[in-house]
C-alpha cells in the first residue's frame, strides 16, 4: 500500500476501486460481528442499568429559561432560592443550571399554568429581566406517552415500508440485512446516550429517526453496488458472492467516507452553533443524536450490513455451488502461484488472503493490469 509516495489519496481511491487495494471486510465478518455484539451488549447494559435521562417533554414538568448575562454559581444559587421561596409544591426542588454564558434554566416538577407563572415571575424578578423575556415550557404528564406512542407507530410503519421497498427494488435478503444494520445503529446510539447521560428530548427522537433514514440511505448505496457486481454471478467461477460483495464495499468506500464527511460537516456546524452559542435546545439535541448516529451508521453499512447480506446469500444452494467451483478452480491454478509471488506483492496479500487465498494464486495468471482487475465481476459494462 505504500508503493507510491506522492499523490497518495487519489491512487488509493483508484486501487480500492479496481480491487488492487482491498480491505477484506466481508471475509472478516466474524470479527465485525464480535465487535458489534460487544458494542450492543455494552449499549443494552447501559440502557438497562443506567437508564435514559428523559427530558421534561417525556416526564412532564416545567422548564423556565431566562436571560442572565454573566451568570455564575451565585446567580444559580440565588435563582434557586427565589424559586423555592415561591412555595409552589412542584417547584420545591428545582434544578437550576447555567446554560451557555448568558442564560439560566430552571427545571421543576409538574406545575399548573398559574404556578408556572408564579415561578416565572419570581425568576424574572430575581434576575431583573422583563417577564416577557422569560421562556416557559409546561408539559403535561401524558404528553410524553403521546409522543412516544405516535413515534412508535410511525417507526413500525416506516420499517414495514422500508422492508417492502427494498424487497421490491432489491431483494428481501437485502431488506433484512439493512434492517439489522438499522437496529444496530439505533441500539448503539441510544446506548451511548444512556452511557453518557445525555437527556432525551423530542429533538433527540427526531435525530434518532433521521439516523434510521440516513443509515438506510447509506446501506442502499452499498447494496446497489453489490447488486451490480453480483449480476449474473452464477455464470462464472472466478469469484464468490462474498468476494463480489467485498469488492462492492471497497469500491464504495471512498464514497462512504466522503458522504459521511459531507454529512457530518453541516451536522457538526449545527452542533457547534447549537451547543456553543445557544447552549441547549432543539439544535444541540438534534445535532448530537445525528452526529453519533451518522458515525455509527457509516460503520454499520460497511461492516455489518454487507457481511450480513453475504452470509445470508451464501446459504443459497446456487451460490454455495459457486463457492465450491471457485475453490476448485483456484486449487487447480495454485501450482503456478509460487513463481510470481514476488512480482506483485502489493494489495492482494492484505486483500483476499482469507477467502480462498485469492491474492497470490491469481497473480501469475495476469499482467499487472489484469491483476488490478482481479475479482471484477463480469456484469459491468
Amino acid at each position: 500500500m505504500t508503493t507510491t509516495e506522492t499523490a497518495k489519496r487519489a491512487p488509493i481511491a483508484n486501487r480500492l476501486y479496481t480491487g488492487e487495494l482491498s480491505f477484506d471486510i466481508v471475509g472478516h465478518s466474524r470479527r465485525w460481528y464480535a465487535i458489534s455484539a460487544g458494542l450492543l451488549a455494552v449499549a443494552l447494559l447501559a440502557i438497562l442499568l443506567r437508564g435514559l435521562t428523559l427530558g421534561i417533554e417525556f416526564t412532564g414538568g416545567s422548564e423556565i429559561t431566562a436571560p442572565a448575562p454573566g451568570v455564575d454559581a451565585s446567580t444559580v444559587t440565588e435563582v434557586r432560592g427565589a424559586v423555592i421561596d415561591t412555595g409552589v409544591p412542584g417547584a420545591a426542588e428545582p434544578i437550576v443550571t447555567a446554560v451557555g454564558e448568558d442564560r439560566i434554566r430552571v427545571q421543576t416538577g409538574e406545575l399548573t399554568t398559574e404556578e408556572s407563572t408564579r415561578v416565572r415571575d419570581a425568576v424574572a424578578t430575581e434576575l431583573g429581566v422583563p417577564t416577557d423575556d422569560v421562556a416557559v415550557q409546561v408539559v403535561g404528564p401524558s404528553w410524553g406517552e403521546e409522543i412516544t406512542r405516535t413515534a412508535a407507530l410511525g417507526l413500525l410503519l416506516f420499517l414495514g415500508g422500508v422492508i417492502l421497498f427494498l424487497s421490491i427494488a432489491f431483494e428481501w435478503k437485502m431488506a433484512i440485512a439493512a434492517i439489522a444494520a438499522l437496529f444496530h445503529d439505533i441500539v448503539a446510539t441510544v446506548g451511548i446516550y444512556a452511557l453518557v447521560g445525555f437527556a432525551i428530548t423530542p429533538a433527540t427522537v427526531i435525530g434518532f429517526i433521521t439516523i434510521l433514514g440516513y443509515s438506510l440511505y447509506d446501506t442502499v448505496v452499498v447494496f446497489d453496488k453489490v447488486r451490480e457486481n453480483t449480476k449474473g454471478i452464477t455464470a462464472q467461477n472466478r469469484y464468490t458472492y462474498s468476494e463480489a460483495a467485498n469488492l462492492a464495499v471497497n469500491q464504495t468506500l471512498v464514497r462512504s467516507v466522503n458522504t459521511s464527511v459531507i454529512a457530518l460537516l453541516p451536522i457538526g456546524a449545527i452542533l457547534f452553533v447549537g451547543a456553543g452559542l445557544l447552549g441547549a435546545g432543539t439544535l444541540k439535541d438534534l445535532a448530537l443524536a445525528l452526529f453519533i448516529g451518522v458515525a455509527v451508521g457509516t460503520y454499520s453499512s460497511i461492516f455489518i450490513a454487507t457481511p450480513l447480506l453475504a452470509d445470508l446469500k451464501e446459504r443459497e444452494p446456487t451460490l454455495q455451488a459457486l463457492t465450491r467451483r471457485v475453490r476448485a478452480r483456484r486449487g487447480s491454478v495454485a501450482v503456478a502461484a509460487v513463481s510470481a509471488a514476488e512480482t506483485a506483492p502489493v494489495a492482494p496479500a492484505t486483500g483476499r488472503r482469507e477467502v480462498g487465498e485469492t491474492g497470490e494464486r491469481h497473480q501469475p495468471q495476469r499482467s499487472t493490469r489484469a491483476q488490478r482487475r482481479g475479482g471484477r465481476p463480469p456484469g459491468r459494462r
Binding site: 427522537v205 429517526i209 458522504t259 495468471q365
Partner: protein, 581 residues
C-alpha cells in the same frame, strides 16, 4: 442508455431556469420574501391540547373539528391577533399565538365546551344595523314524534320573522333603550352590590337578576348596560345561575334564566330536510332524562310572550341560537325550524351533538418563547446553515477540485429552490419554518451533496476504466441515477412517515427533509448532470486538467510497467480480462 446518448443539456438547464423564474416570479407577484417563521423563531406561545373522550377511544374527526371551531372562537374572542388553531395527529389541537404573556388564554382554551339550554328572559337586539339575525326557530315535534305531536304546528318561517321584529319594538317600549355604547366595561361587577360571588366574570346573582323565573328590573338594567366585548371567552357558565351574555356576533344581548337542559341531556342532533318543507331543520333526540327536563321546560315556556317563550342554546357562555317554543314538547323528540341553510343547520347540529359529548382537553404542552430568544435561535439556525454550506463547499473544492464548483453551483440552485418553496408553501398551505425545520434543511445539505458524490465517484470509476471523460460523464450517470433514486426514495419514505405519524417539532423537520429530497432529485437530474455534460465538452474538464477533479493521472493506479497513460479501452474492462484468460 438511449437517453444518455443524446443528452440535451441546454434544454434541461432551461427548465431549471424557468422553474426558478416561476418560483421567484410567484414570490415577486405576491411580494413575499420571507418565510413564515414558527413561534420558536419569532417568539410566541404555543399550546398543545390533547383531546380525550370519556371512554378513552380516539375522538372522531368530526368532534375534533368541532372542538377546533370552539377553540378558535375562544381564541378570536379573547382578542388575540393572528392566532392559529390547527390539528395534529388524531387528537391534538395546537394553538399558536404570536406574542407572550397570554397566561389567561392558556387557561381558557383547554376548557371543556359546555352546552346549555336556558330560557330567555329578555333580549336586547344589537344596535349595529347590519346585525346578522340569528336564524330563529320554533321547536316542534316531528316525524317519529308525530302521534304525540299537536298537528296545528305553526309554520316557523313567517312567525319567526315577525317575532324578531316584535321583540325589538317590544323591548324598546318596555325599557327606554339606553345606548349600547354605554361604557359599561366594569358595570356588572361593580354595579350589582348583592354579588356574593367573588368571580367577577359572573355578572349575575340569582337574587339580583331573576326572581320567580322573571327578570327583575335590576336584571334588565344590567342587561341594558351589558357590553358584549366583555363576555368572557369560555365564560364559566354555571348552569344553576342566571346569565347575561351575547350571541356569537357580539351584537344581541340576553338575560337568561338558569339552565333547564344541559349538553349531556341530548343524545344526538342532525340536520335534515323536513318531509314537507323548505330549507333545513335540526332535529333533536333527547335522552330519557333530558326528554323529561325538556318537556317540563317547554311546558313553562309555551304560551308565554316573546321573548319569554324562547330558550337560548348557549355554547361556551355565548348564545348560538334562540328558538321560540310554541307548545309543550313531550317524547324527547324536537325539531328546530328556521330559515337555515344546509351549512347553518349542520353547524347547529354539530354544536348540539358534541356539546352533548364533550371532549375533555388536557393541556399537554405550553411553550413560551420570548421574541429575543426567538431571534437568537433564528440567528443560530442561519449561522449553522451558513457554516454547514461553507464547510461542505470547501470540502467539495478540496476533494473534487474544479468539480467542486459544480457541487457549489448545484447546492446554490437547490438552496434557491428550497428557500423559494418554503416561502411559497408558507403562503399556500401555512407551512411554518421552525428551528427543527431549519435543522432539516441543514441536514439536507449533506444528503443533497451526497447525490453529487455518488455521481462524481461513478464518473471517476468510469474514467479509471479508461473511458474518455465525455463518455464517462454519460455512462457513469446511467448507474449513478439509479443509486440516487433508490437512496432518495428511502429518504422520502422516512420523511413521509415522520411527517404523518408525529407531532410537534418533528413535523417541521420531516417536511423540510422531504421537500429538499425532492428538490435534490430535481436538481441532480436537470442541473448537475447537464452541467457536467456541458463542462465535459470544455477542454479543461474534457481533457482532464489536473485541477479538474477528473484528471486521469490523479486517479490512475501506479503504473509500474511504465505506461504513461491509462490504457485506451473502448470496451468494458471485463472483456480485456476475458481475453487474458
Amino acid at each position: 442508455m438511449a437517453s444518455t446518448n443524446a443528452p440535451r443539456p441546454w434544454r434541461s438547464l432551461d427548465v431549471v431556469v424557468a422553474a426558478l423564474a416561476l418560483v421567484y416570479g410567484l414570490l415577486a407577484v405576491q411580494d413575499l420574501w420571507l418565510p413564515r417563521l414558527g413561534l420558536d423563531l419569532r417568539g410566541g406561545t404555543s399550546i398543545t391540547l390533547t383531546a380525550s373522550t370519556p371512554d378513552g377511544s380516539d375522538p372522531s374527526p368530526d368532534s375534533i373539528d368541532q372542538a377546533v371551531e370552539i377553540i378558535r372562537d375562544r381564541v378570536n374572542g379573547s382578542g388575540v391577533a393572528e392566532a392559529e388553531v390547527s390539528t395534529q395527529g388524531s387528537n391534538n389541537v395546537i394553538v399558536a399565538v404570536p406574542g407572550v404573556g397570554e397566561d389567561e388564554l392558556v387557561q381558557i382554551v383547554g376548557q371543556t365546551a359546555e352546552l346549555r339550554f336556558r330560557p330567555v328572559l329578555a333580549v336586547v337586539p344589537g344596535a349595529s344595523p347590519q346585525e346578522a339575525p340569528t336564524p330563529e326557530a320554533t321547536p316542534a315535534p316531528e316525524g317519529t314524534g308525530e302521534p304525540t305531536a299537536p298537528t296545528d304546528q305553526p309554520t316557523a318561517t313567517p312567525t319567526e320573522a315577525v317575532g324578531q321584529r316584535a321583540v325589538t319594538s317590544g323591548l324598546t317600549a318596555q325599557e327606554t333603550a339606553t345606548p349600547v355604547e354605554t361604557p359599561a366595561a366594569e358595570a356588572p361587577a361593580t354595579e350589582a352590590p348583592p354579588t356574593e360571588q367573588p368571580a367577577a366574570e359572573q355578572p349575575a346573582t340569582e337574587g339580583a337578576l331573576v326572581a320567580d323565573g322573571q327578570a327583575t328590573p335590576e336584571g334588565l338594567a344590567q342587561l341594558q348596560a351589558f357590553d358584549c366585548s366583555q363576555v368572557e371567552v369560555a365564560a364559566t357558565d354555571a348552569p344553576e345561575d342566571p346569565l347575561v351574555t351575547c350571541d356569537q356576533d357580539g351584537t344581541t344581548r340576553f338575560l337568561l334564566a338558569p339552565a333547564d337542559v344541559v349538553g349531556t341531556d341530548i343524545r344526538r342532533a342532525t340536520a335534515e330536510i323536513p318531509q314537507a318543507g323548505l330549507g333545513f331543520v335540526v332535529s333533536l333526540d333527547f335522552t330519557s332524562e333530558g326528554a323529561d327536563k325538556f318537556y317540563e321546560s317547554t311546558q313553562r315556556l309555551a304560551g308565554q310572550q316573546f321573548p319569554q317563550n324562547a330558550f337560548a342554546i348557549v355554547l361556551d357562555g355565548r348564545v348560538v341560537s334562540y328558538p321560540t317554543v310554541n307548545e309543550p314538547i313531550p317524547g324527547g323528540q324536537a325539531v328546530i325550524e328556521g330559515q337555515f341553510t344546509q351549512q347553518e343547520a349542520q353547524r347547529l347540529a354539530t354544536v348540539l351533538s358534541y356539546g352533548a359529548l364533550p371532549l375533555s382537553f388536557e393541556t399537554s404542552e405550553v411553550t413560551t418563547v420570548s421574541p429575543t430568544l426567538g431571534s437568537e435561535q433564528l440567528e443560530a439556525g442561519l449561522l449553522a446553515g451558513a457554516l454547514g454550506l461553507l464547510l461542505v463547499s470547501l470540502y467539495g473544492l478540496l476533494y473534487y477540485r474544479a468539480l467542486g464548483t459544480v457541487v457549489i453551483a448545484s447546492l446554490a440552485v437547490a438552496g434557491a429552490f428550497a428557500y423559494g418553496l418554503v416561502v411559497l408553501l408558507g403562503e399556500w398551505i401555512g407551512f411554518t419554518l421552525t428551528l427543527a425545520g431549519i435543522a432539516g434543511l441543514i441536514v439536507a445539505i449533506g444528503i443533497t451533496a451526497d447525490s453529487f458524490v455518488v455521481y462524481f465517484e461513478r464518473v471517476r470509476d468510469d474514467v479509471r476504466d479508461g473511458r474518455s471523460i465525455r463518455m464517462a460523464v454519460e455512462t457513469g450517470w446511467v448507474r449513478a441515477r439509479r443509486t440516487i433514486l433508490a437512496s432518495d426514495a428511502v429518504s422520502l419514505l422516512a420523511a413521509f412517515f415522520l411527517y404523518t405519524f408525529s407531532v410537534g417539532n418533528v413535523r417541521g423537520f420531516a417536511f423540510t427533509l422531504g421537500l429538499t429530497t425532492l428538490i435534490d432529485v430535481f436538481v441532480v437530474f436537470l442541473f448537475t448532470k447537464p452541467l457536467l455534460t456541458l463542462l465535459a465538452r470544455s477542454r479543461f474538464f474534457g481533457e482532464g486538467h489536473r485541477f479538474s477533479g477528473l484528471a486521469a493521472e490523479r486517479m490512475a493506479a501506479p503504473r509500474r510497467s511504465g505506461r504513461a497513460a491509462p490504457a485506451p479501452r473502448d470496451r468494458a474492462g471485463t472483456t480485456t480480462e476475458e481475453a487474458l484468460r
